[in-house]
């Protein structure tokens, strides 16, 4: 049987090479992403299902401020993916201080995203939106799907910021290496990618 040509021999000394040439931690992160994608697919399917089933669906968002706010959030999250890539590249070039700074920038952008999102939430709650109430008079599932799906995403962003912080601290003390940063980056890019589904489906489809 031909041996895989990928540089897999470095993965585990004394082991058969992994068919994907990735270390276990990275493989596990990919598997986590597969599972998490199924989770988001399930809630977005549920959203589509109840949206189609409810003819009295109301569209809560005005272009100003909601959509503009959402676009700014999108740009911020995309930028944070870029800074994450910069951090990984710096770590792979063994430039620890630079990498930590880029991680800091990523955390700051993530926190900014969360802050803008919470501001939006608070404004909507102020208007009377609840998980079970629609102030515009249509089906209450508008609020239910909005808060639960964006809440699930927000939970991912906030835990991502915390994890990046933990990784950055450990990396500065040389307890972690570039591999840890790369694996964390995978997660962060995935959270970014999910937003690319959530934003159009939850926001853009619901413009008044």
């Amino acid at each position: 049987m031909p041996e895989p040509s990928v540089a897999a021999a470095t993965v585990h000394a004394g082991s058969e090479p992994s068919p994907f040439g990735v270390p276990s931690r990275k493989l596990a992160m990919w598997m986590f992403i597969v599972a998490d994608a199924a989770t988001f697919a399930a809630v977005l399917f549920a959203y589509g299902y109840v949206r189609v089933a409810n003819p009295d669906w109301t569209r809560p968002f005005a272009v100003w401020p909601s959509i503009v706010n959402g676009v700014v959030m999108t740009v911020i999250l995309l930028t944070s993916s870029l800074t994450m890539i910069a951090a990984v590249l710096a770590a792979q070039a063994e430039r620890r201080a630079v990498a930590v700074r880029w991680l800091g920038a990523t955390m700051a952008l993530g926190a900014m995203f969360a802050a803008l999102h919470l501001r939006e939430w608070i404004a909507m709650i102020g208007e009377g939106w609840r998980l079970f109430r629609n102030p515009l008079g249509g089906t209450p599932l508008v609020g239910a799907t909005f808060f639960s799906i964006t809440g699930l995403h927000l939970l991912h962003v906030v835990s991502g910021v915390v994890v990046i912080g933990v990784i950055a601290l450990g990396y500065r003390k040389s307890r972690f290496d570039a591999g840890h940063l790369e694996t964390t980056g995978l997660y962060w890019h995935f959270v970014d990618l999910v937003w690319m589904f959530v934003f159009p489906l939850i926001y853009l489809l619901n413009v008044r």
Partner: protein, 585 residues
């Protein structure tokens, strides 16, 4: 690019009692903990089924002590219809999640997958330990439903909405009991996700030198494929449970339609869909059936060649069929919903892959039969249960053809025909896989042999018993006996009561027979004759190490593999008819 190694940490040999036996990161201890949990769960689930069966046969006869245990649900020892449904819900939930998923997949998989691939431990031992403790937490939360408010939920193991979603108004147990159910299953999903990650990473990354994917033992192939199925299936059940909890405690209406009046109260919900719950649940639920049965496939495929002294027929076909089943298992969930008011065109769409998935399953069955065909079979408890597995799987599978057709399913789905089908194909077959695995691996796990005499009594009485229980249920179903009903005393089903009594007697008898197994387990553990390293003359790596294996599985030296797992009936070294995987080339 620098890749770090994620070697399992070498465990210190000297550890405190707690670290070694309770909070252990050793995959073998964790595997045994899973099996112990499953044993507690299966006894609980079986006692619940006894109570149900007794009530079905003798609806008015009080059960001793039951009146004291459940003063509201069974005052004076005669259970109410609601209490029957509570028992049914808990029986199904405990059996599916904490027995059929926990024992063959998490239990045996944890113990033997790392040894099969020649690793010292799982890829992530701490996550592995966590997944067991999270599973235990889920079990405790579920059992707590017996002791809160008005008892456990009554919406079945499928927790159909809106019954499961509306809360207290829907009946006893639909208050805090149902909430605990949803929390428990949500927690269980997290445990399974962690476990599946570990299984996949270990299989792909921790294989010892020479253990190519083609040389993986078949049980490990099955656990690996099962982990891939479980990874996506439980990831969908988790958000479904969260949405259900939101419906129950936060006032949302995902699964509750508007205008619903329950217990004379208009429910404050609108816009949701009960069918949405069924879609999400069965998208998990059907793959879950394969999570329960595929480890059995692997265990049987590993055991039959050992006792037939012949290689497994078509090993590559077997693996291809496993993968095909895994893929198809995601496309058939709608066949649970033919009766739910789905569009009839959808029913056709789901019927076709349901019939297609029988093809790889049938091929695998033929491979087993072809393997034992013409063999000088060594009849042991393990091989008898393996053959019994094939028998009950075929019996349960054949009724599946009738249920895969929407036209016949619409008549049969609400009847005992379905009860017979899934108990055979999923419940009893998976249990036989667990029994076969236990008799096969007990010597390796505990260093002592089980009693073969008791094992064979256990097999024959159980085998006859389960056919006496479940075969007549097909007839009940065809006669129109609806399922999920507590008693049939006053209607057209009266003439079927004697048959129900026969089934009840068979169930009590078969349950009592399991005491032989329990006795055998305990006695062999303490007094069984010492087991050799390779008592069955098998090839896979667990038989190359001592019984029980040392802490790091191979005594500090990982084996090198030069042969596949299927080298039976060959001219091996020292006049043997087999070559072990770790044999020198």
């Amino acid at each position: 690019m620098t890749h770090t190694t994620a070697h399992p940490p070498a465990h210190a040999q000297r550890q405190s009692f707690l670290r070694k036996h309770v909070f252990s990161v050793d995959h073998k201890v964790i595997g045994r903990q899973y099996l112990d949990l499953a044993l507690v769960a299966v006894v609980t689930g079986m006692v619940l089924s006894w109570l149900m069966r007794f009530h079905l046969g003798w609806p008015d006869t009080p059960v001793p002590l039951l009146g004291k245990l459940a003063p509201t649900g069974a005052a004076g020892g005669v259970m109410t219809p609601e209490y029957y449904l509570e028992l049914m819900t808990m029986h199904g939930t405990i059996m599916v999640f904490f027995v059929l998923t926990t024992a063959p997949f998490a239990g045996f998989g944890n113990y033997f997958l790392p040894i099969h691939v020649g690793a010292e431990d799982m890829a992530f031992p701490r996550i592995n330990m966590m997944s067991f403790w999270v599973t235990l937490l889920a079990f405790l939360v579920l059992v707590a439903a017996f002791f809160v408010g008005d008892g456990p939920p009554l919406s079945g193991w499928t927790a159909y909405a809106p019954l499961s979603a509306v809360g207290k108004d829907a009946g006893p147990g639909q208050g805090s009991g149902q909430t605990l159910w949803a929390i428990s299953i949500g927690i269980f999903c997290i445990a399974q996700l962690l476990g599946s990650l570990n299984f996949i990473a270990t299989t792909l990354d921790l294989r010892t030198k020479g253990m190519s994917l083609a040389r993986l033992p078949y049980a490990t192939w099955a656990w690996f494929v099962t982990a891939v199925i479980a990874l996506v299936a439980f990831a969908v059940l988790l958000p479904a449970c969260i949405l259900l909890i939101l419906d129950r405690v936060a006032g949302t209406s995902f699964f509750i339609p508007g205008g619903l009046v329950i217990s004379d109260r208009l429910q404050p919900h609108m816009g949701g869909s009960p069918l949405l719950w069924q879609h999400l649940f069965w998208f998990f639920g059907h793959p879950e059936v394969y999570v329960a049965i595929l480890p059995g496939f692997g265990i049987i495929s590993q055991i039959l060649p050992v006792f037939a002294r012949k290689p497994l027929l078509g090993p590559r076909v077997f693996i291809a069929c496993l993968v095909a089943i895994a893929f198809l298992s995601y496309t058939v969930w709608g066949h649970h919903m033919f009766l739910s008011g789905m569009n009839p065109f959808s029913a056709t769409l789901f019927s076709v892959p349901t019939l297609v998935i029988t093809i790889p399953a049938a091929i695998i069955t033929l491979l087993w039969i072809g393997t034992v065909y013409g063999a000088r079979l060594r009849l042991t408890s393990a091989s008898l249960f393996a053959l019994g597995f094939v028998s009950v799987f075929v019996s349960g599978g054949i009724s599946g053809f009738f249920l895969a057709q929407p036209s016949t399913d619409i008549y049969l789905h609400g009847t005992y025909f379905v009860v017979a089908h899934f108990h055979f194909v999923m419940g009893v077959a998976a249990m036989f896989g667990i029994f076969a695995g236990t008799y096969f691996w007990f010597p390796k796990m505990f260093g002592r042999m089980m009693s073969e005499t008791l094992g064979k009594w256990h097999f024959w009485l159980t085998f006859i018993g389960v056919y006496c229980i479940f075969m007549p249920m097909h007839y009940l179903g065809l006669a129109g006996n609806v399922r999920r009903y507590s008693a049939f005393t006053d209607d057209y089903l009266q003439p079927l009561i004697p048959l129900h009594r026969f089934i009840t007697i068979a169930a009590l008898f078969t349950g009592a027979v399991q005491l032989i197994f329990l006795f055998n387990l305990i006695r062999s553990r303490l007094r069984g004759p010492k087991a050799a390293d390779n008592p069955w003359e098998a090839t896979t790596l667990e038989w190359s190490t001592s019984s029980p294996p040392p802490h790091d599985n191979f005594g500090g030296r990982r084996p090198t593999v030069a042969y596949g797992p299927n080298e039976y009936g060959v001219a091996g070294p020292a006049g043997r008819d087999y070559v072990m995987q770790a044999a020198a080339q």
